[in-house]
Amino acid sequence: MRGTGFKFLMAGAAVVIAGVVIGLYVSKLTNLAASPAYSVPVKQTASGPVVNMTIQTVAAVGPKLSPNPDWVSYLIQNASGQWKRETVWKLPANATVHVTIYNFDGASALRNNYLARPQGTDGNVYTVDGKTLNAINPDDASHTFAVPQLGLIVAIPGVADNAKNQCDYAPCAMSNAHRTIQFTFHTHAPGQYRWQCFVPCAAGWIDGFGGPMQTIGYMDGFLDVA
């Protein structure tokens, strides 16, 4: 009987240890405090705070910016013009946010075509390479920038497969083939708003939705609105 009790104790301890390890791993992945946050410069105006964000999306983040050089990723440009692999962005509440995204990646297509309709932006439209659009062909989507809690959905069209001078690794130069997406949205109450890409664009992962798609610092992050 003592042997049986000991086995039960060991099994229970193993379950507890496994649970703690899994919990620590998940909390490490999801803990915002452990993720580098970028405070986006704010310009105060008569109509409220205004923020300009410049972002690039790349097919492979490269060895300079990540230990996972082949992972697809978002990058943000800081005030000194450097590209940073940081996807937690501090923004003021009730702000107007002007976003410019340079996409250097090809198309992967959406799983839900509905998400190819921009929503939550000013006028529910955006510009792609200077042209104002209210939808794109979902097959042309390379990524999305979506904040479900804000109702914000922006589908990012990809670079043509046969485009010249495509970027291999980030940070990509403006001389590389790219698409330019611009839109404006607004923050509201303070809080943490998760953003993500809805295109299953993680090459080599099950359903294209593992790895960088579920890791802060790559294809998702938070708007830390304060």
Partner: protein, 288 residues
């Protein structure tokens, strides 16, 4: 219980433990059961957002009330045992021998078995009335009144957001769930990737969203309200952020919302697949 010889060789008269426990149990049950039935039962979620929610509140009230005496018995027995049969300080005597009592065992087994069977029968009967807001798979067997004219709403789960399609509104899809009041709703729940679960908390609706499966759930809305929607199936790292709010609104307000939502949807309509109870998105270019 019989008396047991002590270590000193004398015989101490034991109180009638069984009678004490039963009397304490009856008194506690007489106090607790009405309190649970009147005050606790009605406030157990999900609330009265739909007829199905109201049914669940009633079911919870009945079952909670019925198990209260059983809980009281366990509590009384537990506390009495802890206090009465506790070894005295400094005592080295062994405790009383534990012997089986076939009469007590028979009563316990029969009573609890009957209670369990009765609750199972009650729960099954209730479930079969209107489906109780649960997902019934593609071929439901329990329907609310007027289900033939139910207003159809499709719930589509994907990592990590729900969207909603309204086939009677030209297949319009929206990221908002808005429902007309006092209307029978039939939800068709499915997924585009992994297993999710559509849980409209205050409506008392919960149905798994499985890829390639049409899971049907019925609800009859009551008055205007705001409710919460959450995914109730661990569906990946950001499962905890798969939530949004929904609204039940008067018909006129619903019509106004639908008009705006259809206009918003119009530019993408030609790209969205025709309405279907399931969708099987093509393998994506990069999916492994």
């Amino acid at each position: 219980m019989s008396s047991e010889p002590t270590t000193a060789g004398t015989t101490a008269r034991e109180p009638n433990h069984g009678r004490i426990v039963i009397v304490a149990w009856i008194i506690l049950s007489l106090i607790a059961t009405p309190l649970v039935a009147i005050y606790l039962g009605p406030i157990i979620p999900p609330g009265n957002g739909t007829a199905q929610g109201t049914e669940q509140v009633f079911d919870n009230q009945v079952m909670t009330t019925l198990i209260t005496p059983l809980l009281c018995l366990l509590l009384v027995y537990f506390v009495y045992t802890l206090t009465e049969f506790r070894a005295k300080a400094g005592s080295t005597a062994d405790g009383p021998a534990i012997r089986g009592d076939s009469r007590v065992q028979f009563i316990w087994i029969v009573t609890t078995a009957l209670m369990t069977l009765a609750l199972a029968a009650f729960g099954t009967f209730e479930l079969l009335q209107t489906g109780s807001g649960g997902g019934q798979g593609p071929s439901p067997i329990a329907f609310p009144a007027n289900h033939q004219n139910a207003f159809e709403v499709q719930v589509i789960g994907q990592q990590w957001q729900f969207t909603y399609r309204y086939p009677s509104l030209n297949g319009m899809e929206s990221n908002q769930l808005v429902l007309p009041e006092h209307t029978t709703i039939v939800f068709h729940v499915t997924s585009l990737d992994v297993i999710h679960s559509f849980w409209a908390i205050e409506l008392g609706i919960k149905a798994d969203a499985n890829p390639g499966v049409d899971n049907v759930a019925y609800a009859v809305t009551n008055g205007p309200m705001t409710f919460h929607v959450r995914c109730a199936e661990l569906c990946g790292l950001w499962h905890g952020f798969m939530f949004n709010n929904g609204k039940v609104v008067p018909q006129a307000q619903f019509d106004s919302w639908a008009k705006g939502a259809e206009a918003l949807y119009a530019p993408i309509a030609k790209y969205v697949p025709a309405y279907s109870h399931i969708y099987l998105p093509d393998p994506q270019r990069r999916a492994g």
